[in-house]
Subunit: 742 residues, 2 copies
């Protein structure tokens, strides 16, 4: 296959990738049936084709596409979004609420199509188990998951007005202004110096030092704790916008809190009291007594608490993935920028559960050849660190840049999903989180970031949550969260036996001795052997109780050589149990919609210098509506034909929108282009005579003339990419009436 | 068309109704083009056909279908729901939260298909403007809508344990027990009397009186106010389940409350303080200061506050409908019965905005012939009042049973929707609300109630909200909520002019005089003429200020004959402005899902007396998955064929589920039947030889043998009802291998 210009590079990458997957899959299945000479021949032909296609894909991935004028286009796009009601501020007649956004008719349909695509691309393709959990989530669940304690931003407060600010954002802005000020002064100083050059020298050295200091603070600000921030506020004497003093920084939990049911709490029966209760007994008993709840900050917990049921539904088979599309809520301190940072948002989350000993993925081979724009931790820290554009996933996994195949698989699937959505390949990068920026549950995280007029924005997170959540829920509730790996034949496995001197342990630790056995029983073989080694070396080992690591009161126990030893032994087993690890791709639907709009926005200049026209070149699959049905005027005689075409399209599941108004046909085309409808059928006076209509393509504005009876099959074939627009232009010839576009 | 037994009555009703609609529509459009003899002939043929079809429909509607064994089936269905994870209690490992339900994989897909159908049947069919608003709703919006003050249930509290109960439900249960007790005693008494019949006479008369009293209380309980309920508690000395005293009844607001953003309120800065703020100034200014918010109790308000934008989007054209699918939240005091009364639920709402002077509906004619099971207010109050089953909508509107055509149209559309979902016709009734049970915003309300094992359950409300919401939002915010009706030619209209004696009014009312002019200006012509009449009769008229009728402090002004008069005059106008009225069909998605499961549950008894099999006979359109791909054993050689069929089905947008496990084929069929998958393709050893497979129909369990290449076109044609299963059985013949079902 050669690279053609008629289709976008993204579309071609997607197509070739799919062809490669199909070829690999076909050959995998041919290998099973090994006695058929025809199949053997097919296998060899396929292998050759495969090599060719991989080469093509490589070429496609390295083509640099035209830059998008995102920043220049932003005001035009904003106007289109408003005019065509893609989305709008919620409750605007009441003054609006920052961080709340409503989708209007066009946005709602776009979102609907996007979620449908997500479901097909991820859920159906991998036979994931989709669930729909509730937004209201009881206290104990989010206490266990760590969100009650750690899902916070540091906040500072104007001590007079009580207005609150996010500490890092406010200080960063304040310091940047300070920096500009100093630099300005310095430049002024330089200008002055030319006149009296013996004075400013000293001040200037001071300034340079201050600038360097501030720049260093700005780099570190993101990871600073309360004390560090407090020191910065004091050092630079930072004030509120009203010039008042600022409070010490304090953590603000980003979850919306509410109460379930009518039972009343005491006045102050909020988080603090609840914590005491939960810590004093098992959460499960406490559930009915507590009525504090939160709106979920992520949909993930709904999948984790249902893990056992999903595993059962799956017939006990591991690995498998749960999925959920639904709302998340974050009580952001400073929401901003339309859809980019909101307080209530749709998210799509996948939790892929797997045996930590087997971090591969069944379909990894189908995608490992892809070239992904990776931006690893190391490159971000280097001064000249760049995005890697010429490395296959396979290489990245082998070099340890991506930690395992399962994670790599999902990075690849997300990449193809984003291309399908119309995101431009050169506007995507995969940025690995720095150590200190990761969420409390994550081991590793790669964000698919998309380039927007506001810079690169995190749209899809791919977190390795290890067994963090399942383990904690198991500890809190006692529910069994084990997965099981069965073997066809028994296999030999190494175990470590704990050999305690019970008398000595009992004497020293008394009532705590059972706690010690419990902790040891939960350790892995590797951990136990490490303890043995340490005991041999130092004669002593400090054992920590981390079973309830969220309360901070860890007990420690000093074990000595004479109290305990550990012995390796082998045993044949039929199965092993494990708490599954989790890879979590998490999609911000609203953010992706924003990026799609920015990446698909186009400006058309007409040659005869009339006003420029703006439109959305959305991929067919996510266009809000697939076809417009227009009439050249609002003559009543067109009405039966409009209805007829509408009926035909409906019957063939092609969504359509009528415009039978009295505005000019040019204006009608402009309207349908603005909401990204790919095709338009137009009824004119010729239709009354011979039952033909024009069919127009949004992107090229070219038209063909076809019989009414042909309309639906042509559009169906175009929408499913079984044919291209140029095929039909070739077959039917271009239709040129008058220049109706203007 | 004759009535056949191969399809359900519901399916046939739907089909004939659609045919009638198409014929009416076709003839409407033929009428426009009046000079074509061929069309004239077609018109006449169509009219004849139409009469026939209406007759058929009448016959279909009056057939009484077989009763459903809902109550007997319930335990079996509950087991199936659990086993196949349609839905489950949320957070069960934490002990669960009553009133919160998660959908598992089967339920999630069913819900997805149901919402898709809803969107097609309502939103796309009527080109409604769908929006997606936020769940978090600021205080001021719900204060205006009346929910802060009136969306309450009366509650009583055990004064010792502080446990709360819904007053009406608790007292009703308590009195019913009391009743049983008395009746029991009475029977005991009767038995005893046979032995000593001269004693109990007196006691017995007392009992009879008490019984009658209690029965009367039970009938009135639903509409009782706080004092009445208090009296009942005292009179019957009602105690809590722990025998403690009960508190006086008090209203409990059913909305979940939360706070937006970080700004802290004072300790007690809850509803009470907010109310003061809102009442003291315009809500719009207050918005940024207040941070109290609620989770929306209905999605409707999100549409109302966006009314003006939607009208603009619609090019100013009235009437139109907004629609929304999304979550609603109600902090129920006593949630129960799985999906039937939950605290977080999906709803689909439509708000049809129209000129109050033109309460017809463009498509009413297409549906007015339908026979709907109406249960009007009057019939409910009569002792022998029944559901009316033989009245067309047209008759019901003409007789004033249904107040207007727009409402009737939506009742009809909902009826056809429910039939499409698989709800049995004889399990639906339209119950009109009694006056006192209506929501605070409603003028009239018809509930589509569906028969379940718990009795008839409200699933779809059809409320006439008049202009209640738009008016109140306009008053609160000053936003313009007017719609406009333009006329082709100017029309003559009657107006009423207000002729005040300004001096006299000024003298009497001083600073209030502007208020009086404002109130009068907001009155309709009819209102003003009534005032004129009253002034003529009584020389005086009491004018009420109802502009802020939610605070209860209405001012009144006494006008006298000498202060004011009103004069009729005529004027030619091009357009009229009006605050639109609203008809609101509101669907409880979860409840409908429950009803669908109950109505589609079936039991199959095998002749050779093996265990009975349970399955769901879901309509194709909402089946979670459309086709199973099975193999007769888990032989590896079947794998390529399984993949091939999966690929073919995917390409043709037919969702499928593989089962390649080692269980028997009979068990595999049982599994696919349980989640209501209509078709199954099975690969066996014959497939390896000639590339044929069996295709099995869920309901009849019959099989045909077809080539792999034919599978997708056959299933597509069945799913779209272009052909029926019996057509294919006739064409391909029955395939009988061995009896694999068992």
């Amino acid at each position: 296959m050669s690279i053609t210009n008629s289709e976008s590079i993204e579309k071609q990458i997607e197509k070739v990738s799919q062809e490669i997957s199909l070829l690999i899959e076909r050959n995998e299945s041919i290998k099973i049936i090994d006695d058929d000479p025809d199949l053997k021949k097919e296998y060899e032909t396929n292998q050759k084709l495969l090599e060719q296609k991989k080469k093509t894909l490589n070429e496609l991935c390295t083509i640099v596409s035209q830059p998008l004028n995102l920043i220049e286009n932003r005001p035009h796009l904003e106007s289109l979004i408003k005019r065509r009601l893609f989305y709008t501020n919620s409750f605007e007649i009441y003054g609006g609420v920052s961080g709340l956004i409503d989708y209007g008719p066009s946005g709602c349909l776009l979102k609907y199509e996007l979620e449908k695509l997500w479901r097909h691309h991820f859920v159906f393709y991998d036979e994931m188990l989709e669930i729909k959990g509730t937004c209201i989530t009881p206290y104990s669940v989010l206490k266990t998951s760590g969100h009650v304690d750690r899902f916070t931003d540091l906040m500072i407060k104007d001590v007079v007005t009580k207005d609150c600010y996010r500490a890092d954002k406010y200080i960063s802005e304040w310091l940047k202004n300070k920096l500009d000020e100093i630099k300005g002064q310095k430049n002024d100083g330089n200008e002055k110096r030319e006149k009296s050059f013996d004075k400013c020298e000293n001040a200037n050295t001071n300034d340079t030092q201050t600038i360097q200091e501030i720049e260093s603070v700005l780099r570190k600000l993101d990871g600073m704790n309360e004390t560090e921030i407090k020191n910065i506020i004091n050092k630079y004497n930072i004030k509120s916008p009203e010039k008042n003093d600022l409070s010490d920084p304090f953590p603000f939990n980003l979850m919306f809190q509410t109460k379930i049911g009518p039972k009343e709490n005491n006045e102050n029966d909020m988080i603090e009291n609840e914590e005491k209760k939960v810590n004093s007994k098992k959460a499960s008993n406490d559930m009915t007594k507590s009525n504090v709840a939160f709106l979920r900050p992520e949909t993930a917990q709904g999948i984790f608490v249902n893990f056992k049921k999903l595993l059962e539904y799956n017939g006990g088979k591991m690995p498998f993935a749960g999925a959920q599309i639904g709302l998340g809520f974050r009580n952001e301190i400073s929401p901003r920028n339309g859809l980019l940072r909101v307080r209530e948002f749709e998210m799509g989350e996948i939790e892929y559960f797997f045996n930590p000993e087997k971090s591969n993925h069944e379909k990894y081979d189908l995608y490992k050849h892809l070239l992904l724009p990776l931006y690893p931790r190391e490159n971000q820290l280097k001064d000249d660190g760049k995005v890697i554009t010429n490395m296959t996933l396979e290489e990245a996994v082998k070099k340890g840049i991506i930690c395992n195949e399962a994670l790599a698989y999902f990075l690849a699937r997300t990449y193809l999903f984003l291309l399908k959505c119309g995101i431009k390949k050169d506007g995507i990068r995969y940025r690995q989180h720095l150590d200190k920026e990761m969420a409390h549950y994550a081991n590793d995280c790669w964000d698919a970031e998309i380039l927007t007029s506001y810079g690169y924005i995190e749209c899809v997170g791919h977190a390795d949550r290890s067994a963090y959540d399942l383990k904690h829920h198991m500890n809190s509730t006692g529910a069994n969260m084990y997965g099981c790996q069965k073997y066809d034949k028994p296999i030999d496995m190494e175990f470590v036996k704990i050999v305690p001197n019970k008398a000595k342990i009992g004497m020293k630790f008394k009532s705590d001795q059972n706690k010690i056995y419990k902790i040891l029983n939960e350790k892995t073989n590797e951990d136990l052997l490490n303890i043995e080694q340490e005991l041999n070396k130092n004669q002593t080992y400090i054992l920590k109780d981390s079973s309830n690591d969220s309360d901070g009161n860890n007990n420690t126990f000093e074990l000595t050589r004479d109290m305990i030893s550990f012995q390796k032994y082998n045993k044949k087993v039929q199965e092993t149990n494990f708490i599954p690890n989790v890879i979590e791709p998490s999609f911000g639907i609203g953010r992706i919609i924003f990026c799609i709009l920015e990446h698909s926005f186009r400006i058309r200049q007409f040659t005869d210098d009339k006003e420029e026209r703006h439109y959305l070149s959305l991929p067919y699959v996510i266009s809000p509506i697939k076809c417009s049905v227009l009439s050249i005027s609002n003559n009543k005689e067109f009405y039966p034909y409009i209805k007829q075409i509408q009926t035909i399209l409906n019957e063939n599941n092609i969504s359509c929108k009528l415009d039978n108004s009295s505005v000019s046909i040019g204006k009608k085309y402009a309207r349908t282009d603005e909401i990204g409808i790919p095709f338009a059928v137009t009824i004119d006076f010729q239709t009354l005579k011979d039952k033909t209509v024009t069919l127009r393509d949004r992107d090229s504005m070219l038209q063909i003339r076809v019989n009414i009876s042909e309309v639906s099959s042509i559009i169906s074939s175009l929408l499913s990419h079984k044919s291209s627009w140029s095929d039909h232009v070739q077959k039917y010839g271009l239709f040129v009436q008058q220049n109706l576009e203007n």
